[in-house]
Amino acid sequence: MLPPEKPFSPPCLFWRRVAKTICLGSKLMRQAQLQMTVNGEPAEISFSAYKTLLEVLREDLSLTGTKHGCELGECGACAVLIDGVPQLSCLVLALECQGRSVETVEGMAAGPELHPLQAAFADLGAAQCGYCTPGILLTAKALLEKEKSPSRERIREAISGNLCRCTGYQQIYEAIEEAARRMNERPR
């Protein structure tokens, strides 16, 4: 089944409506409940069953640090870590997250101390408007957890799903490299 070709019925709304119909039709409770770990803390969440993880994070958990640019999985602004893997939260139904661990930008700093990636992004101009920044920070965090000193090529590859319209990417690469250096010098 394909979305109808009609302006202003964006596919995301079409599919959401399908999801909503299925949820209500199958007598799934309109409000769903589940447990997941959010930024290291156990959370019991109640939400409309058709909502995406992005919507639940922003609307039900007030974690507005996660952004949206398309809600179709195109821009990468909504990337979060699910069990340590970068995922587009606009393409994940919150219902799929029972028992899983979700990390957003709000979970990166340790109290007042910024994560080395956050500090390097702020110092080196990797965040201009700051809107794509949370998604890129989390994507980069997943990369640095796998590879201690990734090459420029690996960094370019890793963030190629995150669109940034401000920086031209150079200062983002440099910030990720600098963060890797700082983390290798002084492991957290």
Binding site: P7, T66, G125, C129, R165, C166, I172
Partner: protein
């Protein structure tokens, strides 16, 4: 210098990396309801009937609004107040808003939109400028100047035809620059709330809170004193949030009617239709030149596709001809322009506002001239550079110019002399330059008030709060503001709190457009800070036993020799002496020398200059273009924060390269069984191609600064803009590099592999190896306003009798 010129974390950097920057859609208020807009599904139609009853009765719906609720029009320019918040009877593009539903949540509002029944009488769609010229009817707007031609302009600065007769060579070239859009990652959002006293507050992702404030007062017919507009930090602007928008009016009206907060956030498809982006422009350049490479004159004609509404269009059209003269000396210049209405989303200002299109044509034509004259393109440009502190043929005052140094830098760093025309098959280098405003000389609406105001509040703890209407859109305006105040007062920028972009709290600044913030806000900030500094110095002079002008403000200290006060101690003395401490500063650009009607667009307190070399690698079998490296040098005058300045330059390079190679806002007809409407071909972030991190080449950035004593006196500490100018040379440099690589000319943007292949095929079959426009349609340009250049005895006024009676137009 304590602060300026030193690489530094921006003052708002921490909140940006912790997700704490509060964008408009992040605002959540108690009892908030949500709005969605019903948009026209026809490109050109009259609305016969709208039935909203079913939507009104839908469970969860609070309010349905239609055109009847908005009798007053608005528009960003005083001469084109042609938009309704919701179109009452005439829709002009697919996406024109016609009704709004306000409901308990977005989902319910969206469901209710489907219940609204609209009967249209479909009108003939005007899809292209050629169709607009051929079809005066049906009229898209009744007020247009001639049929569907929105606006006609013609100016002559010296007799160009006579010059051409005496020139050794005349080059005539056609170019086309396809439209494209801003694509900020943040979609437009707005929240409106009526407070306990019945006053309205609107939070919006806007670059121009002051203009939104004025328009809201007009549309809602409420006193402006009861309206407060807060520009949230924008998740990217690039000109896309410079216009006053329908959805801002709708949520404001709904909040007033419902007495509760109303939010809207456009989806990505709607952002593509809201548009206000780069105008598609067809251009014809005729340029005269002597055998030894001196330019003698230019005649430029442009045909500008405006889309369905005025927006900034009148100013954009002027800008397609305004800045040709500020880079290279043109003894005589003639400019004709026409903007037409078409049934597509309205075009407006995008980074470079109307100037990247003719800059592309001008710089590619210069490459052709150099080729024919067998001159080095860099030498040709150096030979024709405008002189510092001079007037141009069209009466623009050029102050400092660092372009010579910019060209030398990119030539040297790219090893141009060794590599140009010598790189082997498929590889090439291209060079181009550009110039841009540091703020438009005149405000959008006529007034003699300051264009930027800054207010400082000094707490007895030593805390400094700075208030300014300027808007943070990612470019770092808060950082510039804090840095300049910190520099004057000798404190750390992180000691300063910035309150910006709030019409209820901050002095007016016209907004973040036309690269005006650093120069205008910066000058106002210096003035305000200097006043405070003088008061503090006077109070501290007693304690330090020295004349106030001998006191040094530096590193948080107020001192003379070894006698030292902390800044906070000195502030206490000043408060004891003068009472509560505060100051204001404001800035208005100098009066421009041009006196003719139309002279309002183009003047600026200063011009920035850029030179760029692009390297390309073209695959002859696929036409695929790879860009390994770009060298760019930007005349910034003086760098305030090198980290941010470099970011602005490289971001411009990125956007310019993306426009050069792939970005295009293009349209298609739906199949007849689905209405044949003219819709956006690719309204999604996936299909509207832009460069990703994998496509972005290495960029070698040089910030060219002027020496002490040479700095532009109109600029704060000599600092010029960096946000728009560096985009301009990138597109033509790519085109010129492709010629160096494979010997074909692509005279239209974007330069896609299919165009390269087509040109290579033409070349192989011995034909003219060029892809680009071949015909310039007949446009009824009027007789020109005749103005004599300064060196032909002109005084800046039009020659008597050559000016048509016209409404005055202000720049943007």
């Amino acid at each position: 210098m304590n602060v300026l010129g030193k690489p530094r974390r921006r003052v708002d950097g921490r909140s940006k990396v912790t997700g704490q920057t509060r964008f408009a859609d992040d605002i959540v208020l108690p009892r908030m309801v949500h709005a969605r807009l019903l948009r026209s599904s026809h490109a050109h139609a009259r609305i016969k009937e709208i039935d909203v009853e079913k939507a009104r009765k839908h469970p969860g719906v609070h309010l349905v609004l239609t055109g009847k609720d908005f009798p007053v029009t608005f528009g960003i320019l005083p001469v084109t107040q042609d938009e309704y918040a919701l179109a009452p009877e005439h829709v002009r593009y697919v996406g024109d808003p016609i009704a709004a539903v306000i409901a308990k949540d977005e989902q319910t509002a969206t469901e209710a939109l489907d219940l609204i029944e609209v009967k249209y009488e479909v009108l003939k769609t005007i899809a292209t400028p050629e169709e607009a010229l051929q079809n005066p009817e049906p009229r898209i707007h009744a007020y247009s100047e001639l049929g569907n031609i929105h606006r006609l302009q013609a100016f002559q600065f010296g007799d160009v035809e006579e010059t051409f007769k005496k020139s050794d060579l005349i080059f005539e070239d056609l170019f086309f620059y396809e439209g494209n859009t801003h694509l900020p990652i943040e979609q437009h959002a707005a929240v409106a709330q009526v407070d306990g006293e019945g006053k309205l507050t609107l939070w919006s992702s806007t670059q121009v809170p002051h203009y939104v404030h004025r328009s809201l007062a007009r549309v809602l017919q409420k006193p402006a004193s009861h309206i407060r507009v807060i520009a949230c930090p924008n998740g990217g602007g690039f000109g896309g949030k410079c216009d006053v928008c329908n959805h801002e009016m709708v949520v404001a009206k709904a909040a007033v009617m419902l007495g509760r907060p109303v939010k809207i956030c456009l989806n990505r498809e709607e952002v593509f239709y809201l548009h206000r982006g780069r105008h598609p422009v067809l251009m014809k350049f005729r340029t005269g030149v002597t055998k030894d490479g001196k330019l003698t004159g230019m005649h430029l004609q442009t045909l500008v596709d405006g889309g369905g509404y005025g927006s900034y269009g009148v100013a954009s059209t002027f800008y397609t001809g305004a800045l040709q003269t500020v880079t290279y000396e043109l003894p005589r210049y003639k400019f004709d322009a026409a903007r037409v209405f078409t049934n597509k989303p309205p075009c407006g200002p995008k980074r470079g506002h109307g100037t990247p299109q003719p800059r592309f044509g001008q710089e590619v034509q210069l490459d052709k001239i150099a080729e024919r004259l067998k001159m080095d393109p860099a030498e040709l440009r150096l030979k024709n550079l405008v002189k510092a502190n001079s007037l141009t043929a069209n009466w623009l005052k050029v102050g400092s110019i660092g372009l010579e140094e910019c060209i030398k830098q990119v030539v040297e760093r790219s090893q141009w002399k060794k590599r140009f025309r010598k790189m082997g098959p498929g590889k090439g280098l291209g060079l181009a330059c550009g110039s841009y405003l540091c703020g438009a000389g005149l405000p959008i609406y006529w007034n003699r008030m300051p264009q930027s105001g800054v207010q400082l509040l000094l707490d007895r703890s030593g805390q400094v709060t700075v208030f300014c209407g300027a808007t943070e859109i990612g470019q770092g305006s808060d950082d510039v503001l804090a840095a300049i105040v910190a520099e004057v007062l000798g404190i750390d920028p992180f000691e300063i709190r910035c309150i910006t972009g709030d019409t209820g709290m901050t002095p007016v600044d016209l907004g973040s457009y036309s690269s005006r913030v650093t120069v205008m806000m910066g000058n106002a900030a210096i003035q305000a800070a200097e006043k405070l500094k003088a008061m503090i110095a006077e109070a501290a002079s007693e304690q330090l036993q020295v004349a106030p002008d001998k006191i040094v403000f530096s590193n948080g200290k107020v001192s003379f020799d070894n006698r030292v006060l902390t800044f906070a101690e000195a502030v206490v003395m000043a408060e004891e002496k003068f009472g509560t401490l505060g100051s204001v500063g404001s800035y208005r650009p100098p009066r421009a020398p041009g006196r003719f009607k139309g002279a309002g667009v183009g003047p600026s307190p200063a011009y920035s200059y850029t030179a760029c070399v692009v390297e390309v690698d073209v695959d002859k079998t696929t036409g695929w273009i790879t860009v390994p490296k770009i060298w760019i040098a930007h005349d910034i005058g003086r760098t305030i924060n090198p980290v941010l300045a470099r970011g602005q330059v490289e971001g411009s390079v990125y956007m310019g390269l993306s426009e050069a190679l792939m970005e295009e806002q293009v349209f298609r007809r739906l199949p007849p069984k689905l209405s044949s409407a003219l819709v956006h071909k690719i309204p999604s972030l996936l299909e509207y191609k832009s460069l990703t991190s994998l496509d972005m080449p290495e960029v070698d950035t040089v910030l060219v600064e002027q020496e002490e004593g040479m700095r532009d006196p109109n600029c704060p500490f000599g600092a010029k803009e960096a946000g728009q100018g560096p985009l301009l040379p990138v597109m033509p440099a790519v085109a010129n590099a492709i010629f160096d690589a494979v010997g074909v000319r692509i005279d239209e943007l974007p330069i896609t592999p299919d165009k390269v292949l087509k040109a290579l095929e033409l070349k192989a079959s011995g034909k003219d190896a060029r892809v680009g426009p071949t015909v310039f349609p007949s446009v009824p340009y009027p007789d020109p306003v005749v103005v004599l250049p300064p060196w032909e005895g002109g005084d800046g006024n039009a020659v008597e009798g050559s000016e048509r009676p016209k409404v005055k137009v202000r720049s943007a």
